[in-house]
């Protein structure tokens, strides 16, 4: 009886459990659309759909922002469609890549298909060609990593290095690191009027401080080409001369500015997202494959400062450099022509433009002096931003501490703007900066101007080939 009761109890429990299970299954079935499919299929789809829609919304906003804004920052560009899309390939791998000197496979070497080496070979080949270099290390994940590797690979505790002071456009990535590493910092002596390095005083500086092992031309606010050959000649033997080409990389590769390695620089390094319209990546190219500092600098890049070099960016970097190889000369010439016209037109509008004595600019940058730091900030983040014009505010080199705007024309040159349009740009900037025009009204004019220069048809790029059968085959494989 007891056993029977127990059985009976168990039977009740089982029935209840069975009913609960049936009810749960009904709920699940309902939720999954009644097709008996994967558990929670529809529920999960709905949530994912919401997530994707919200993501799409953010991209709509940002893409529209890019379409409608006049990008005059000196440190940005528009990568072409292939550059953007190729980043979808080679994702998910954690690969060790060989340094730019002969080395045996080490502890972190991974077996792979061989495609990586093939891609790297293409990339380093074109990199060496564009920068007249013997090596091309593509691995640094950014311009700061590259210059920090150069600093740490050439200087040790107690040594010294010379670079541009911040007021003269020096980059921010080095001084704190140098202080932490016990490396002394010196600033390049400048002639304010010409914005050129005072080579004699540099020679004196290096003579007085024999611990100086590195001179690095890391200028971010850059209007002029520096006398590299004279600098090399003035430096004591053994001092490493590095040229940071983050800003003017495309101008050098395009032949508008001289090759630093041919004028005595030991290495040229920089990122690939300013005048070079590539991914957020960097390079270090040595003039001499047997340079005594090559191994140290390269080892600081990897494995000391970074372990992963983002293999997915090899192909985009290669395409970006290939666009420079094919269109670089026209692109670089147009950049400089646009910058000169922009500067001249701003000057004629009555805006105070730096560098009148040397024709305002020799690079992609134009510096506008506006007054105090607060004035410049108010303009760049306030009126100009509301007017649809992107700029950044800086302390203008050679302007006795005055602040202003650093304008760059490379991005707009990629959108197809040329001299005539640059005069329009100058007029629009002057309306806001000088005449305090209503930003909303200027913004309508900006949008009107940019409507003629859509982002999906970039100049000096491979965008015109993106619909070709070859590109379709490539992208089909990339997205597979």
């Amino acid at each position: 009886m007891r056993a029977a009761e127990q059985d009976s109890d168990i039977g009740v429990v089982d029935d209840e459990a069975q009913a609960a299970v049936v009810a749960a299954e009904e709920i699940i079935d309902e939720a999954s659309g009644g097709d008996g499919g994967v558990f929670g299929h529809a529920w999960s789809d709905d949530r994912v759909a919401h997530l994707l829609e919200r993501l799409a919304s953010d991209f709509v906003l940002d893409n529209t922002y890019r379409e409608q804004h006049l990008s005059l920052t000196a440190s940005e560009n528009y990568p072409s469609k292939l550059v953007r899309m190729l980043g979808s390939g080679l994702q998910g791998g954690f690969y060790e890549f060989a340094p730019p000197y002969p080395a045996e496979a080490g502890e972190w070497a991974f077996p792979d298909s061989g495609a990586n080496a093939s891609l790297v070979g293409k990339l380093t080949g074109i990199g060496r060609q564009l920068f007249e270099a013997a090596t091309f290390d593509w691995r640094p994940n950014g311009g700061s990593v590259a210059e920090q590797a150069v600093l740490l690979g050439t200087c040790g505790r107690g040594d010294g290095f010379v670079h541009f002071a911040h007021k003269d456009g020096g980059h921010f990535a080095l001084e704190s690191l140098a202080a932490a590493a016990g490396i002394n910092t010196y600033h390049l002596p400048m002639v304010d009027r010409t914005l050129l390095i005072d080579v004699d005083r540099l020679a004196t500086l290096c003579g007085e401080h024999p611990e100086i092992k590195l001179v690095i031309l890391d200028q971010s606010f850059k209007l002029r080409w520096q006398p590299l050959a004279q600098i090399r000649a003035a430096l004591p033997e053994g001092v490493f001369l590095a040229y940071d080409s983050s800003h003017d990389g495309a101008l050098i590769a395009g032949g508008v500015l001289p090759q630093p390695t041919l004028l005595g620089a030991d290495a040229v390094h920089g990122n690939t997202h300013k005048t070079i319209a590539g991914p957020q990546k960097a390079y270090i190219a040595f003039r001499d494959a047997d340079h005594p500092k090559l191994r140290a600098v390269s080892d600081w890049v990897c494995p000391q400062m970074q372990s992963n070099s983002h293999a997915e960016l090899i192909a985009p970097m290669y395409v970006a450099l290939s666009e420079i190889a094919l269109h670089g000369h026209d692109y670089a010439r147009q950049i400089v022509a646009n910058a000169k016209v922009l500067a001249q037109a701003l000057h004629e509008e009555g805006v105070r433009v730096s560098g009148e004595s040397f024709g305002f600019t020799e690079t992609h940058q134009v510096h506008v002096i506006t007054g105090s730091a607060a004035d410049a900030l108010r303009l760049s983040l306030g009126d100009l931003a509301h007017a649809g014009i992107r700029t950044t505010n800086i302390e203008v080199p050679g302007a006795n501490g005055l602040h202003g705007l650093r304008l760059g024309v490379q991005a707009m040159t990629r959108r197809g703007l040329r001299e005539a349009e640059m005069r329009e740009v100058a007029r629009l900037v002057a309306k806001v900066v000088l005449r305090r025009a209503e930003p909303t009204a200027v913004r309508a004019e900006v949008a009107d101007l940019l409507r003629h220069h859509p982002l999906d048809e970039l100049a000096y790029s491979f965008d015109a080939h993106v619909d070709s059968p070859a590109a379709a085959r490539l992208l089909g494989e990339v997205f597979r």
Binding site: H50, E53, R54, A56, S57, V60, L61, N63, T64, Y65, E67, Q68, E323, H327, D330, Y331, Q334, H386, G388, G416, R418, A420, E421, R423, E424, R427, T440, R443, A444, E445, V446, A447, D448, R451, H452, P454, L455, D456, E457, L458, A459, Y460, S461, F462, D463, A464
Partner: protein
């Protein structure tokens, strides 16, 4: 190929010119080389696929987007959607996106009744900080929460089952299109291929080009042409077509203008056939592509694409796009450089030679207008007229019946006054205003009944205590004042449209002969010729010198019109100079009187071809003596620009 041999005079046109249809390909007989620079490397040709950037945006609050019934309605519109939430407010999104690219913002309405009216008004004002034509949609679960008639122009509610959201989107687009000439500035689409007429010659001596401010003026122009056996151009601007000739603008200004163009073409063809005249039809001062296309399709012989109100660069872009369009129809194209019109940036400055040279180098025109010292009196503000008419239409749209929108605003105002005077929200006065607002929206809830606000007030007066009666009167006053303000605004808008009186005080400007010589020098060898506008302002001596400079056309407007009215007055005397007290502004009233007079006096003008009335003969003599004769003689045998 008449246009490639500019010296050849065209054969007299004795048959009617059918409306033109576009020709296949981009070129046409008579087009010179396109002097445009090559595109930068990597940029495909201009005729490319539709761009994402052309689709407008909708900014949708997350609560709305995640509402099951609302999302499909919004998705169906195919807009680029940005979802706003507490981390990304609608205002922040509107700051980021250029004003005219957002069609509307859609938010949830969290309250109902009078509070909803106030809320909607406040939110609409906040959202429209940069763009007064931003569409605003308030989602309501129950359509009774807020009567859409209580909302302002381009504001509406969205409730379950709504099907007319696309119509609302069209309304926003249409209003913007009328307000912003920048939106009409887009490169026109490629018209379908078809056959075209041969272009008239660019050059057949220096010919007069007379304004048409009333269709009856065509008859004397045709008589002049027939009697002198020469080309005579007659021109009409879109502004003139709308204000002097159009019968109705119900379907929008461009449709009205298009109708006028077609009627004129028919009239000109009939006159040419009947009288053997060589009257040519020219579109004057068109600054948007829609109008240029309408004229081309109507069969005009020549169009003036006027980008002179823009900067030189924008002028070149506009002119080239319009020229490309006109070439497809085989129509002569005139461009303008130097802002000789009222909308221009440099109205009082003469065109500079360097601007003129750059303009000529970068465009492919048949004729070029420039400011050489003449005075150009008429304000060709078609864009401003479109804008004013669109604003009046928006006001009309809401100011119907008892104007519930004005009543909602009045209620909100009185509510605020009550609050400011210290009456708590639960007071009888607040509740009374809320009840009236509720009654106002339910009273007219029948299908086509419309609100009956007078009945609401009447009923309230019988039921409220005497001490609350002043509150009712204050509310009624606020309501009427708002309606009156709208009516005043509309009157002001019509004054802006019609305040266009020819200014005769500036007659006889001095022409700069050195500048004319410089310009004709620039044109030398290009096959193009100069056009001088504002001929009414030039002395007879200056006029007589223009053929020697090789000027192709001289345009006459204000004085010809004044002469016509003067001649007509002999036929049907009336004093048009004194205006009685008018219900509208002076400009509007004067225009109404003049148009009424012309309509009455020239009602039968199409039947006058056989035996024109004496005043027409008087006017033709004056045209010949004062305008046409000085332009003859000392004319170069060949086009001054030479053969192109």
């Amino acid at each position: 190929m008449t246009a490639t041999t500019p010296a050849a005079a065209p054969a007299p046109e004795t048959t009617a010119s059918p409306a033109r249809t576009p020709v296949a390909g981009s070129g046409s007989p008579g087009t010179g080389p396109v002097l445009r620079r090559p595109l930068p490397p990597g940029v495909p040709g201009a005729a490319s696929r539709p761009r994402r950037a052309d689709a407008p945006h909708a900014v949708i609050a997350a609560e709305v987007w995640h509402t099951e019934w609302a999302r499909p309605l919004l998705e169906r519109l195919g807009l680029r959607t940005v979802i706003a939430d507490e981390r990304l407010s609608c205002e922040r999104v509107l700051d980021t996106l250029a004003a005219q690219s957002v069609a509307f913002v859609c938010e949830e309405l969290p309250v109902s009744g009078l509070a909803a009216m106030t809320w909607a008004a406040r939110r609409t004002e906040a959202l429209r900080r940069d763009d007064p034509l931003l569409g605003v949609v308030f989602m309501v679960e129950d359509h009774r929460a807020l009567d859409p008639r209580a909302l302002g122009p381009l504001v509406r509610t969205l409730s379950p089952g709504d099907t007319d959201l696309p119509a609302f989107l069209d309304e926003v687009r249409r209003a913007r299109h009328e307000f912003h000439w920048e939106l009409r500035n887009r490169r026109p689409g490629t018209p379908p291929a078809g056959r075209t007429q041969a272009s008239p010659a660019r050059w057949s001596g220096t010919v007069p080009n007379f304004n048409v401010k009333h269709p009856s003026m065509l008859l004397p122009y045709a008589l002049l042409s027939a009697r002198t056996r020469r080309d005579v151009y007659c021109e009409i601007s879109p502004q003139e077509a709308l204000l002097f000739v159009a019968d109705s603008a119900d379907r929008g200004p461009v449709a009205a203008v298009d109708r006028v163009f077609r009627t004129l073409r028919r009239d000109v063809d009939q006159l040419n056939t009947a009288l053997g005249s060589r009257l040519r039809l020219h579109l004057d001062h068109a600054d948007d592509h829609e109008v240029v296309q309408a004229a081309c399709e109507a069969g005009f012989d020549s169009v003036m694409v006027d980008g002179s109100g823009r900067t030189l660069h924008q002028n070149v872009l506009f002119t080239n796009a319009a020229t490309e369009l006109a070439r497809r129809y085989g129509v002569l194209v005139e461009g303008e450089i130097g802002s000789i019109d009222g909308a221009g940036l440099r109205k009082w400055n003469k065109t500079t030679t360097s601007d003129f040279t750059r303009f000529v180098e970068n465009t492919d025109l048949d004729l070029v207008g420039a400011h050489v010292g003449q005075f150009h009196s008429f304000d060709y503000g078609f864009a401003a007229t479109r804008r004013a008419m669109a604003e009046a239409a928006l006001l009309d749209d809401r100011a119907t019946g008892d104007d519930l929108h004005a009543f909602a605003e009045a209620c909100a105002r009185v509510e605020k006054d009550l609050t400011d005077s210290g009456l708590p929200a639960y007071s009888a006065e607040h509740r009374l205003v809320a009840a009236l607002a509720r009654r106002a929206t339910t009273e007219g809830d029948g299908a086509d009944a419309g609100p009956r606000l007078d009945a609401v007030f009447r009923e309230a007066r019988t039921r409220v205590p005497v001490f609350q009666r002043p509150l009712l009167d204050a509310l009624e006053r606020e309501w009427l004042e708002r309606r009156l303000a709208k009516a005043r605004r509309k009157t002001g808008l019509w004054d802006e449209v019609f305040a266009v009186d020819p200014a005769r005080g500036h007659r006889y400007a001095a022409i700069d002969h050195g500048l004319v010589r410089a310009f004709t020098g620039v044109l030398d060898g290009t096959g193009r010729a100069l056009v001088v506008h504002g001929g009414s302002s030039l002395s007879r001596v200056d006029l007589a010198s223009l053929p020697g400079h090789g000027v192709a056309r001289v345009n006459f407007g204000s004085t010809v019109y004044a002469d016509y009215l003067e001649a007509l007055r002999a036929h049907l005397p009336v004093d048009l100079t004194t205006d009685p007290d008018s219900p509208t502004g002076d400009g509007t009233w004067k225009h109404v009187r003049r148009m009424s007079y012309l309509a009455e006096a020239t009602r039968e003008w199409r039947s006058w071809t056989e035996a024109p009335p004496s005043f027409v003969e008087t006017f033709v003599s004056r045209l010949e003596r004062c305008y046409a004769a000085p332009l003859r003689g000392r004319t170069p045998a060949e086009a001054p620009g030479g053969r192109s």
